[in-house]
Structure formats: structure tokens, C-alpha cells
Amino acid sequence: MSDLMRRAAPGVAVISAALATVWLFDPALRSDAADQAAGTTTQQSAGDATAGDEGSGTDPGSGGDATSGDTGSDDSASEGSAESGAAEEGSAESGAAPADPAPVDPAPAAGDCGTATATTGDPAMTPWGPVRVQMELASDGTVCSVKAIAYPDSDRKSSQINARAIPILDSQAAQQGVEFDALSGATYTSEAYRESMQSILDQR
């Protein structure tokens, strides 16, 4: 984190956390980002979204390091636990068969969810830890299920937020009837969730 943020008094740590996520120019993050951009920028010439390209695995190299700089948190303890959380969930599941029953019913639209492919998104950072989602996609691109496989629970406030938000977001994502190309919104948790989900969409 930048010196500016390091010098911030503890009392404004939360404010700093919010502000530090403002367009990070942190050199360390930047070099991570540069490495990633050079090594793992994903491009898939996937035909049409509806033309039968299956969701493929996410890049295992794009794990916690790029996003960990995003925490903007001066709290190294919570950052540490966030990292370990990311590590536990860190392995990308490439083309794995759907394992557990989906937490929500398949979307009413077309798509054979019986043969859906599970894809894990990149972890997306919040000040309280990473959010990471797993989507099951039918061969025609229909979203069969979305669930959070990692979300911050390292402190009480965060747990309160997420106990409510995460399951609801799970069902929300799977129930979209309208096709869309990108997402815009405003809360940390849902933004991170969206970011992780977007990383999956980007693989299609």
C-alpha cells in the first residue's frame, strides 16, 4: 500500500481502506499486474455466446496476488487471513464435472444443465477478504448455477454483511432472464462477487 495509506491514523483506517481501492497505482501491484498482463491475459475466440462454447477453466496463475493489493487495508491480520482463504480455495477447477447439487434451480430458459460445466472465477478482493464464485454453465452458455465458494468472514461485520448478501446474490445471478454483457454496481461484496463472476464470463 502506498505511503500515504500507511501513514493514515488507525482511526481513519476504514476510510483509507475505502479510498485506497481508488484506482490503485501501487507499484508492487502494478508489477504483479504487468506480469499477469504479460503472462495470463486471457483471450478466447469463443464464437457466439450461444454457439456452444463451454465455459473453460480459469487461469490458476491469476490467484490472490493481483487482487490482494486491492484490499486497501492497513490491517495486516485480516489481510493475512484473506490470503490464506484465497489459498485454500485457490485451485482453479478446469472443466470439472459439477460436484455438489446447485444451490438454486436452473434458469427457466433453455440449456441442458444436466451436462453443465463448473468454472471457478478469479478471487476478487474486498477490504475484508476475497470473494470467489463458481458458475455452472450449460454448453449453450446458460447459467445453471452460481455459488460463492469463498467470501470474507474474518470479522463480525463482514460476516453479517455476507450472511445475507451472498446466498441472495447466488440465486440472483442464476435467475437472470435478460442477457447482458457487463455489470455495474456499488457495494464491496457484490462488486467483488461481480468481478469474480465477470472473470468467468470473460473466459467464455
Partner: protein
């Protein structure tokens, strides 16, 4: 749909370019995308407030003359000059220490300009977003404009709305400012007068505000301004300076109410 993603500006950049059977995609698209990377890096080198060697930091600390800095800095200084007035004081290009900090404008501007690079290279359909701020040109498919889902910050149970770009494929953008959003500086002028650092969610009546319109530099700046103003003013007051600009807004209150500008409806294909 061809998609690329890479880390950028502390978030993730997502670029989508449709592919069609008789694809008019020009050769060298990879080098064009590389050009977008380079552009965003160049912006960072020149305008980062977090890096002491950026042109912005050297200029504002008195180590380098503006005319000796990257022309990007001069361009941004010029561009934000009238934004406070245009937004009734809502947009404020200074950080809490009173130093010039145009970051709230720069992100949307950089994304918008990046899409301009794509356009200049012959890519007429594209959607580029970084951290939820999105600039689009052209269409997503032969019969479908680009669409952006806006999540409801007050009730994560649903997507609040789906915003659709104009059917003629003209430039369109969506930006959201909110309580915990990345990529914005939200300080009102009043904060500076009080001389205190007030968190962006302190006292605002809004949970989030989404602005849609042609260019992301302005959509992003306007969203920032509306959010900041809503701390002390009814959000409808912002509708007055927004009217006639070509930009429309949808605001979500802390208590869950939703207000939108009279013209916002033209962009909505799904609204709560």
C-alpha cells in the same frame, strides 16, 4: 464473442468484441488490444496520485512545470476545469489535503479513450469495462445493443435494472458511484471547508447512483458529483443540471427508494 481480461487500475479490465460469421474484424486485433494495455499504462505513469514519479505528483509538488509534463496531464487539467461548475459543485478534483487529484475523472476518461483506440483501429463494436465502469460502441450482436446490468446496492436480492445502449450503436457508457465503490474520489467541497476527512458514505442519502450517457468520462464524473451532492441536497436537485446534457441517472436511496431522471426510461430494458 471474443473477450479479453487483464488486471488494470486496481481492478479487472474486461473487453468484449463480438464475432460474426462474416467477420469484418481487421487484422492485427491482438496488437490493438496491446495498444489498449499500453495506453492504460501510459495513463498510470502520467497521472497516478500514488506514485511519486508520476507527472501528476511531480507537478503538484512543485518539481516540474505543467508544460514540461506529459500532455495527458495538461489535457486532464483542462478537462476537469469546468466540471465543478457543471455539476453544481459536486465534482471536486482535489483530495482531502487539497491537492489536485483528478482521479475521479481520469478512470472514466482513460477507459473512454481506450475504446477510441479500438474504434480508430477499425473495431466498431466493443465493450470495455474496468471495475464496473463501462464504455461501449457499436452493438453486441446483429440484433442486440450492448446491455449492462445494474445491481441494487440496497437489496442484493435483485438486479435493479438492465440498461441498454442505443440501437444505432452510438457511443454509450454506464458508471456507478456508491458507498463502497472502487475507482472514485468522492469528496464534496464542503468536506474541504470543514477540513476533515469524511468517509464517502457518511451522511449521504444515497446508496448508489448510476449514470448512463455517451461518454464515460462524463458519466463517471456526474455519478461522482451526484453522490457527493446527495449528502446535503435532495437528489432531484442534481436532475436540474443533468437535464439537457444527454446523461441520465438512476439513484438508489439508503432506505431503498429509487429515483430516476425523466429520460432514464429510454435506456432501461428491465427495471425494478
Amino acid at each position: 464473442m471474443r473477450r479479453w481480461s487483464w488486471p488494470s487500475m486496481g481492478s479487472v479490465a474486461s473487453l468484449a468484441v463480438p464475432s460474426h460469421p462474416a467477420d469484418a474484424m481487421p487484422e492485427g486485433v491482438a496488437s490493438t488490444v496491446d495498444g489498449v494495455h499500453s495506453w492504460l499504462d501510459e495513463v498510470e505513469d502520467a497521472l497516478s496520485p500514488f506514485r511519486g514519479d508520476s507527472d501528476l505528483c511531480r507537478w503538484r509538488s512543485g518539481r516540474q512545470a505543467l508544460c514540461d509534463c506529459s500532455p495527458l496531464l495538461g489535457e486532464v487539467v483542462q478537462a476537469v476545469r469546468d466540471l465543478p461548475e457543471r455539476t453544481d459543485g459536486g465534482f471536486n478534483p482535489y483530495d482531502r489535503r487539497g491537492r489536485f487529484d483528478p482521479t475521479g475523472y481520469v478512470k472514466g476518461w482513460a477507459i473512454e479513450r481506450a475504446v477510441g483506440l479500438l474504434h480508430d483501429a477499425g473495431i466498431m463494436d466493443a465493450c470495455l469495462g474496468v471495475g464496473g465502469d463501462i464504455q461501449m460502441i457499436g452493438c453486441a450482436d446483429t440484433d442486440r445493443p450492448w446491455r449492462v446490468a445494474v445491481t441494487d446496492p440496497a437489496d442484493p436480492d435483485r438486479i435493479l435494472a438492465v440498461v441498454e445502449a442505443p440501437a444505432d450503436g452510438s457511443s454509450f457508457s454506464v458508471a456507478t458511484s456508491g458507498t463502497a465503490q472502487r475507482g472514485e474520489h468522492i469528496w464534496s467541497g464542503l468536506d474541504l471547508h470543514r477540513g476533515s476527512a469524511i468517509s464517502r458514505d457518511a451522511g449521504s442519502a444515497l446508496a448508489a447512483v448510476t449514470v448512463a450517457g455517451p461518454n464515460l468520462s462524463l458519466a463517471d464524473s456526474f455519478a461522482t458529483a451526484i453522490w457527493a451532492l446527495a449528502r446535503d441536497h435532495p437528489v432531484d436537485e442534481a436532475w436540474q443540471w443533468l437535464a439537457g446534457t444527454g446523461y441520465e441517472a438512476l439513484a438508489v436511496g439508503g432506505e431503498g427508494w429509487v429515483r430516476r431522471t425523466p429520460g432514464m426510461g429510454q435506456f432501461l430494458v428491465l427495471a425494478a
